[in-house]
Amino acid sequence: MIRTILLICAALTTAAIIHIGTIFSLPYFAKNDIWHKVLELAPLNRVYVISSPTEAVKVSADLDPAFAFGLCRVDVSAAPMLMKGTFANDFWSLDYVDQMGRSQFSLTNQISGPKLNAVLATKGQQRLLSERPDLIDETTIVITATDSKGILLVRAFIASERDRPPTARSLDRVLCKPLWDDADTE
């Protein structure tokens, strides 16, 4: 009897360990997360435009069909990422999402106006930028990268369906590139 009770106690303890391990490890091993979806769609350092509402919800059910989207997969391990664009939309926002799909920083056009001008940089790169103010404008919003890889997502509000094609063109023109090339730093 005691042997069975001890056995069940050990099994329950192991079950708790398996439970905690599964919950904490799932975000690291999930293949259906937003990072893997974007990995298939968007090339590195280029904006992938999602204008169609049905396509947007296929990428993620959280995307609002009343918006058009620009997704840029970024890697800041070599250089900070610069994102620049102009939008005539009443509302747009920029969201920096880490590899785990967590929103680390977001802003709207109430702060930036019609021009999007942001740099995603690690803390080390930010120190370098503070010594080289010529690399960025005074109005550039510097976002701290929490990881070397992530996603920059622009959401642009479509007030009228007539605005969808011009918004898609604006998103397509958004610059998403390293602030400097390796050759520049040599």
Partner: protein, 218 residues
């Protein structure tokens, strides 16, 4: 003398048989214990994880009438269950500066929204720069319709008495602002507030979100 030796030999054989039986019994018990351990540990461990992740939306939820929101779900402060659930679903929720999304799967009476029924969504001004309302199937896909109308927003909804609005959902075309639902299928409504002071969940109880009233069924 011979009888005595035979008795000793028989007893020795019996003792050996008993030892073998005990050893065999011990082996069977060990195998049984190992199987019981694996079933309880793995079954409970994986089963409870599955249940917890599937019900992660019941954690850290804010309710306003039939509407539910998860203000911290996409932030680094999200609980581990929400993080696991989002990784599994591939979610891309609004950032805290962008806004907050409320989801309703029932009407004001708590009855699940049925695509075969008509509902009236009524509301007035909301504390946000813009808002949108979308009708979606339970798996998040949009309801196909010829006019490709998947929702309304604060700039294209018809206003009654200046600030109030009314949207009707149902499988058949209706006058005014109408959203198509699929007959015999449950659906959900997603109400997104962009640039709202309530994005972090503060003062959410003060928000007067639209009411969802059942009208009729087919």
């Amino acid at each position: 003398m011979t009888a005595f030796s035979e008795k000793v030999a028989t007893e020795a054989e019996d003792a050996l048989d008993l030892n073998d039986r005990n050893r065999e019994l011990g082996r069977v018990r060990l195998i049984r214990d190992i199987i019981l351990f694996i079933v309880v540990a793995v079954g409970l461990g994986i089963g409870s994880s599955y249940l917890a992740i599937n019900n992660a939306d019941k954690l850290a939820v804010f309710k306003v009438g039939p509407w539910h929101a998860w203000p911290d779900a996409s932030s680094p402060k999200a609980n581990p269950y929400s993080k696991a659930d989002q990784a599994r679903r591939g979610s891309l929720m609004l950032g805290s500066a962008e806004g907050i999304a409320f989801v309703a799967e029932t009407d004001d009476e708590g009855t699940p929204l049925d695509g075969g029924c008509q509902y009236r969504i009524t509301g007035s001004e909301l504390p946000a720069r813009i808002w949108t309302v979308t009708l979606a199937n339970m798996n998040g896909t949009l309801v196909e319709n010829p006019s490709e109308r998947f929702g309304y927003h604060s700039q294209n909804v018809a206003r009654i008495n200046g600030s109030e609005f009314e949207i009707v959902t149902g499988p058949d075309v209706s006058g005014g602002d109408w959203l198509k639902s699929e007959a015999n299928k449950p659906f959900k409504l997603i109400f997104r507030l962009y640039e709202t002071p309530h994005a972090s969940g503060d003062g959410y109880s003060e928000i007067r979100l639209p009411q969802i009233a059942w009208m009729s069924c087919q």
